[in-house]
């Protein structure tokens, strides 16, 4: 018994060492993912950001066609980087709606004029409420909503060229 107690601290240390080494090798995924993936799109009603496009309403998503929901802002720098990829997705037939977070109409207009406009609808989320209800923790993020209005996938961060085919495939699957 005494022998066991004497070697216990070393045993505990080896355990902690292994744990920490595991933590170093597998660098922790600091991205916070939404827990809403797999659940229906939460009820939301956002007024239109621009005069000529409708705002966002959750009811519009259970239409039978899967859609992408892109969360962006004119002050967000990676959003500029992903704008060309969004245009490519639009050209490939994807329907993209947007939630503009903490933004103003003139700034959004200027952003879209500079970077292209792939969006069908743009909602004004000035208090981040829709973003919070989706479980999104930053911009840009893109959600894939299936034909029944259920969130089936989340892409955190800007969309790169290699992500475009993956998103198109996800949209196919979600029909």
């Amino acid at each position: 018994m005494k022998k066991l107690l004497i070697w216990l601290p070393l045993a505990l240390f080896v355990l902690v060492f292994a744990l920490v080494m595991n933590g170093l090798i597998q660098p922790s995924d600091r991205i916070v993912r939404s827990a809403m993936v797999g659940k229906p799109l939460p009820a939301m009603h956002l007024p239109p950001m621009l005069a000529d496009k409708p705002g966002i309403d959750a009811k519009d998503f259970a239409t039978g066609k899967p859609r992408l929901l892109n969360i962006f802002a004119s002050w967000c720098i990676p959003c500029v980087a992903e704008a060309p990829q969004l245009l490519k997705l639009k050209q490939a037939g994807a329907e993209i709606d947007a939630i503009a977070v903490r933004d103003t109409t003139p700034d959004v207009q200027a952003f879209l004029a500079r970077n292209g406009d792939p969006y069908t609808r743009i909602g004004d989320d000035h208090a981040m409420r829709a973003q919070l209800s989706l479980g999104s923790s930053g911009v840009p993020e893109t959600f894939v909503i299936d034909s029944h209005g259920v969130i089936v996938d989340q892409h955190v961060g800007d969309i790169r060229a290699e992500d475009v085919p993956k998103l198109l495939a996800a949209l196919e699957k979600a029909k």
């Binding site: 107690l5 939404s34 809403m36 967000c76 981040m128 409420r129 919070l132 923790s137």
Partner: protein, 135 residues
């Protein structure tokens, strides 16, 4: 006068646009009029994690999102929701990561049992140091 002008010029040039220029929602930086509700909201805010910070609660952070989360908490508490309900709403959306009070589950069971276990082991070890002397 020139110093003041220089200061203003620096101010206008200084801030990089990586955050919204919109002012925060009022309830991000204002208290609820009912002190009891404000106390409840505050207590909850101190246990919720800021998702875009390096390890701070939303009560202690200047980040935009933290402010909006505070506004959300205050608004819901003012509307009559219990703090536990607001907490659950956020956990439904962000998982256990958003709360600093880890809920009891198979994953966290060792964490919560550990203090009792350590006390038990400690007391057991300490027993061996004492010897009952018969008078």
């Amino acid at each position: 006068m020139r110093r003041a002008l220089a200061a203003v010029a620096l101010l206008l040039a200084g801030t990089a646009q990586a955050d919204s220029s919109l002012p925060a929602s009022p309830l991000a930086y204002t208290q609820l009029p009912d002190p009891a509700q404000e106390a409840q909201a505050k207590a909850l805010m101190e246990t919720l994690r800021c998702l875009v910070c390096q390890g701070q609660s939303i009560a202690d952070s200047d980040a935009d999102m933290a402010g909006e989360m505070r506004a959300l908490v205050r608004q819901r508490v003012a509307a009559g929701e219990r703090p536990a309900q607001v907490r659950k709403w956020l956990m439904d959306r962000y998982g256990d990561y958003v709360t600093y009070d880890p809920p009891l589950s198979w994953v966290t069971a060792p964490l919560w049992i550990a203090p009792l276990l350590l006390l038990g082991i400690g007391l057991f070890l300490a027993r061996r140091l004492f010897r009952r002397r018969t008078a």
